[in-house]
């Protein structure tokens, strides 16, 4: 029998609906789901090729244990017994756990509970550290909450849209659709990006093409123009913010011409953009990694949020500054507390959270000091459990990551493929993914949607939650992990994480498009717009931030004369483990490439299609050169999807001290033709 079963796309965090066509327990096709409010039947290239990766030949199907330097097939009992025996010897500080932006909330919840209750440590993190930690650190003090404050659906209501370090046409196409809808109705679109992306070229009315990493110079200049011209929202500033005098004094001390020289953005264009945003009825700001992934990412975010506050662009549908998380559960895994400083529900470590959870969970001695952030955890722990994440591709300075992982007493990798990280593991655990298991995800705008189990996982693969519970039992904690289904875990989440209290599986089954948290009661429709009356700060006010421009940590010099920036593209996803196993996507872009400006190409004698060597102080890789004016002179762009051209062998592991974000977006590189 043929059945159409609805589910949500496994790629970015828009949360688009699709139908999978099922015959005899196997997915044989997919069809548009027209009734889903996010995508209305449309999908991007990845969304149109959503399921093929499940059937890749090299899916992990059985537990593997390293014996004599080789990973050999094993059984669950053997693997779990071995892990439990080793973990019993681990000191709290020696253990670390990396969760995923792709696991369900139920899985994320039991993972962090395992680290805290059984291992006694807050060393639990996920890839959110590498994408939106500046969001939390920047928006926390400014508006009190680091989430998308609106519904995606309301982007189309805006009459000015400011895109900051985000390329939605490639990375969030369903948002690009709504931006285009707004534009059809006359909205102005401003793009701030060092690259002339397809978004800048085809959607933007103005492209502010800044020098990499000079965001604060641009944002401060925009604020200065707005205050100088009296375009600020005086009533909003007066009633809903604090700190305007401090900000005014600071901006008064800045010289616009000097800022123009730093950023390279012509003042005339910048002024036009500033006026558009200030005068907009509904100004919508979307930002992403171009703003975040700097050693001053948190300051960047603070400046952007302050600009939105000064212009009064907060608290109404479609307004505000929206961080755009890149994974299906990029929001939810954080909500569930897979962060070194947050218990579930963003209850901060050290502020009574451990005591609260001791009561909720019925345990003693929960850790109350922060754990290591992601990249430190890779280096500092002896026992590391990596779940659905691939630091050998995703973390900066991969060669040093390799050294650290090779030193581990125990490296457990739990994944669906033998990833670059899994190759180094002592134990590899095969998992069920996406529609092979049940659970909920929170998509980009806090939109909680449920994934049903539609097909069986391959062979011995098991859901993450099952593995955690099995291991907990072997560690002697059965009573605290006595769950027989994701539904039972979710009921505990509803008790412990207030924003999820009113959401039930039954409601989600009935609500196409899901429910946006916070949802305090079972008859509450969910919350589309944040900050309508007050901000989530202790005093309810928006706190205007004063930040200064600082240059990137590593400047180009004679030896490494270009700036290297990394990022994503439309046909591939993150470290490529899914899309490179999807023939239709991989055929579009089958090998690693870098973009270089024609002028630089001439100077380096590089022709389009040449194999080039990119070298930084960390390492070197080879890639195919694409000579294009998408990048300005002096800048080289390198996507991080390709194992054979691993971008993160090159990147600078220097961290933003405020949040632990590595500087992926700017380091010094040299480039030469491979001879």
């Amino acid at each position: 029998m043929i059945e159409y079963e609805s589910t949500i796309c496994p790629y970015c965090s828009c949360g688009c609906g699709i139908y999978l066509v099922i015959k005899d327990g196997k997915i044989i096709g997919q069809e548009p789901q027209h009734e889903h409010p996010i995508n209305e039947g449309g999908n991007c290239p990845k969304g149109r090729n959503a399921y093929q990766f499940l059937y890749a030949d090299d899916r992990l199907k059985t537990p593997l244990i390293k014996k004599d330097g080789r990973l050999e097939e094993s059984t669950w009992d053997e693997a779990l017994d071995l892990i439990a025996a080793k973990l019993k010897k681990a000191d709290p500080d020696d253990f670390g756990l990396l969760a995923s932006g792709k696991n369900t909330n139920e899985e994320a919840y039991v993972l962090q509970k395992f680290a805290r209750v059984i291992m006694g440590t807050n060393n639990v993190e996920y890839c959110g550290r590498l994408c939106h930690s500046p969001t939390a650190a920047g928006l926390g003090p400014t508006v009190g909450s680091g989430v998308m404050p609106i519904s995606q659906l309301d982007i189309q209501k805006a009459d000015c849209i400011f895109l900051v370090g985000i390329n939605p046409k490639e990375t969030f196409p369903m948002m690009a659709k709504r931006i285009l809808r707004a534009k059809e109705k006359g909205a102005k679109v401003i793009v701030l990006d060092p690259r002339k992306t397809v978004t800048a070229r085809d959607i933007g009315n103005i492209h502010l093409q800044l020098e990499p990493g000079t965001d604060i110079a641009v944002l401060n200049s925009m604020m200065k123009v707005i205050l100088d011209e009296g375009l600020e929202s005086k009533e909003f500033i007066e009633s809903r913010t604090e700190g305007i005098e401090r900000l005014r004094d600071h901006l008064a001390s800045l010289d616009l011409k000097e800022m123009e020289k730093i950023s390279g953005v012509p003042l005339k264009e910048l002024k036009k953009a500033a006026r558009w945003l200030a005068k907009a009825e509904i100004g919508c700001v979307l930002y992403n990694q171009g703003l975040n992934q700097h050693s001053k990412g948190a300051d960047n975010v603070k400046a952007l949020a302050t600009l939105a506050l000064v212009t009064g662009q907060y608290g109404r549908p479609g307004t505000g500054i929206s961080p755009t998380r890149g994974q299906i559960n990029g929001e939810g895994t954080g909500d569930m507390g897979c962060l070194n400083v947050f218990y579930p529900g963003f209850q901060r470590v050290g502020t009574g959270a451990s005591e609260k959870f001791e009561k909720l969970w019925g345990v003693d001695n929960l850790p109350s000091k922060p754990g290591y952030p992601y990249t430190k955890m890779l280096q500092e722990t002896k026992y590391l459990w990596v779940v659905g994440t691939n630091p050998m591709m995703a973390a900066p300075d991969v060669d040093s990551v390799r050294e650290a992982l090779e030193r581990k007493e125990l490296l457990i990798v739990q994944d669906i493929f033998p990833t670059e990280t899994a190759q180094l593991a002592d134990v590899v655990l095969p998992v069920a993914t996406w529609v092979e298991r049940e659970g909920i995800h929170a998509y980009v705008d806090r939109r909680v949607q449920k994934i049903n189990r539609i097909i069986d996982p391959p062979a011995e693969a098991k859901p993450d939650w099952w593995i955690v519970c099995q291991l907990a039992e072997r560690m002697g904690y059965k009573s605290k992990f006595d769950f027989s289904s994701p539904g039972e875990i979710f009921e505990e989440i509803r008790r412990c994480v207030p924003p999820y209290k009113g959401i039930t599986y039954e409601r989600l089954e009935k609500t196409v498009g899901g429910i946006q948290w916070p949802c305090p009661t079972e008859d509450h429709p969910g919350t589309t717009t944040f900050f309508t009356k007050k901000f989530n700060t202790p005093d309810g006010l928006g706190h205007l931030q004063v930040v200064d421009y600082r240059p990137q940590a590593e400047q180009p010099d004679e030896d490494y004369p270009y700036v290297l920036t990394t990022g994503r593209s439309i046909f591939h996803y993150h470290t490529g483990s899914m899309t490179r196993r999807t023939p239709k996507l991989n055929d579009e872009t089958p090998k690693g490439f870098c973009q270089i400006n024609p002028t630089d190409a001439v100077a380096e004698k590089i022709r389009n299609g040449d194999k080039v060597i990119l070298k930084t102080r960390r390492g070197s890789i080879e890639a195919e050169a694409h000579v294009t004016d998408e990048v300005p002179k002096g800048l080289v762009f390198l996507p991080f999807h390709f194992g054979e051209s691993c971008a993160n062998k090159l990147t600078n592991p220097v961290l933003d001290p405020a949040c632990g974000m590595p500087e992926y977006k700017a380091c010094a590189v040299k480039i030469e033709v491979k001879t």
Binding site: M1, I2, Y4, S6, Y19, V21, K23, I28, G29, E31, P32, Q33, H34, E35, H36, P37, N39, E40, G41, G42, N43, C44, P45, G47, R48, K169, E170, P173, M174, A176, K177, L180, R181, V198, D202, E509, V512, S569, I570, F571, K584, D587, E588, T589, P590
Partner: protein, 422 residues
């Protein structure tokens, strides 16, 4: 002529109770399944009872048929694709397929291309005056009708009105043109569609002409021998009761069809004229601007019920369109246009599947309308008639002028026709 027409209703009480129009179609399908005339019925079902989520289903058990009765105006399932892609083009089983005129036409186009088996299919066509995209419909019910989408039990589109029937039995009605001018209402391909009665199916069934009957009934026109055999046996075996329609009913049906055709022509004018009035270079600019929104998802191609190649020329591994680039070169949409424009049956699936909202159905429908005029050809209504751009007529081989001068070709064609006949 009226011997081929019936006013029909089910003889089965339980079907009658649920039916919107007398349950004749359900009973005919039940007859076909129970007597093994077909192995399965392809129709649509509201997924989990959600009327905005109609999906194609294959039904093999007669008792499941009643779940599928009633129209779902706010769902846009792709029935021909379901038959072609997931039921092996009916090559392995006998199927009765229930569909709107565009669904039936797409199946006929696929039959021409040997993608769907002719002999294994019985086509039950349903009259249609248009459908709505589910998200537009839900929004419209809230904004314009001020009702919750879940309260709507049924819709009816007739005489230029959209009527909705609510849970509590009451109804609300609004002028369709007024709604559509606000950008809601029917899908834009449906607004332009002039084919309301699927007389190219084996049976064409609908409410028009049966509205004045005392008991709720369906007007059925028998359009083929296959259709005739099926309905005659269903009558004989007592599954349905029929009467011969009177002149007035037949006339009423014709008038309603004509009025809808007029409305569609008006919409064509509204949609096409602004484009046709543009200077050629401006028109090209317009389309290039639209094509530049494309993110190369292949959604239009995959949704197109006429497209069928296993190894599509547009795939990145074919080397025809440069891979990895968005927007793709205009050769991408233009190749699709060249491949299917002559056969486009205006089902709107391409536009529904487009994430960037390109007005694809408008483009294909405009070109197809022009081609139809030139070749006097309507796609999807006659399985014997080949697509004009892949069939070459003798007369065309005599054309010397490489720059197609349509009026001179038409003159020539007309000239040669008259000389042939003389």
């Amino acid at each position: 002529m009226s011997g081929n027409m019936h006013i029909a209703r089910s003889s089965d009480k339980s079907i009658l109770e649920k039916a919107e129009c007398g349950g004749a179609v359900t009973s005919i399908l039940k007859f076909a399944l129970e007597t093994g005339k077909v192995d399965g019925v392809v129709t649509i079902r509201a997924k989990n009872g959600n009327r905005y989520a109609g999906v194609p289903v294959l039904i093999t058990e007669p008792e499941e048929l009643s779940e599928t009765s009633g129209s779902l105006h706010c769902s846009t399932p792709n029935i021909p694709r379901f038959v072609k892609e997931y039921l092996d083009g009916a090559s392995t089983m006998k199927l009765a397929v229930v569909g709107k005129p565009c669904d039936i036409r797409a199946i006929i186009e696929l039959q021409k291309r040997k993608q769907i088996d002719n002999d294994n299919l019985i086509l039950i066509g349903l009259n249609c005056t248009g459908t709505l995209s589910p998200t537009t419909a839900k929004e419209m019910f809230i904004e314009e009708f001020e009702v919750e989408p879940t309260e709507v039990m049924r819709e009816d589109i007739d005489e230029g009105k959209l009527v909705i029937i609510l849970e509590d039995g009451t109804s609300k009605s609004k002028d369709l043109i007024e709604l559509e001018e606000k950008g809601v209402g029917r899908r834009d391909n449906c607004r332009r569609c002039e084919i309301n009665i699927p007389i190219f199916a084996d049976l064409a069934c609908g409410k028009w002409g049966a509205e004045t009957e005392e008991k709720k009934s369906t007007f059925i026109e028998v359009c083929s021998n296959k259709g005739k055999a099926l309905i005659d046996e269903a009558i004989e075996e007592g599954f349905i009761e029929v009467e011969e329609p009177d002149k007035r009913s037949i006339q009423l049906r014709e008038e309603k069809d004509k009025a809808e055709k007029e409305r569609a022509k008006e919409w064509k004018g509204r949609d096409f004229e602004p484009l046709l009035e543009l200077a050629p270079s401006e028109r090209l600019d317009y389309w290039i601007r639209e094509f530049n929104k494309c993110i190369k998802c292949y959604g239009c191609r995959d949704a197109c019920p006429i497209c069928y190649c296993d190894h599509c020329l547009l795939e990145a591994n074919r080397g025809f369109v440069e891979g990895g680039k968005i927007p793709p070169d205009a050769v991408f949409p233009l190749t699709r246009l060249a491949h299917v424009a002559d056969s486009c049956i205006n089902c709107g699936q391409c536009q529904d599947a487009c994430p960037m909202e390109l007005p694809l159905s408008k483009l294909f429908n405009l070109l197809n309308t022009k081609l139809s005029e030139v070749f006097d050809y309507t796609p999807g209504v006659d399985v014997e008639q080949g697509p004009p751009l892949s069939a070459v007529m003798m007369e065309e081989l005599q054309i010397e002028d490489t720059f197609l001068d349509m009026s001179s070709i038409n003159t020539r064609l007309r000239g040669s026709e008259s000389s042939n006949s003389s």
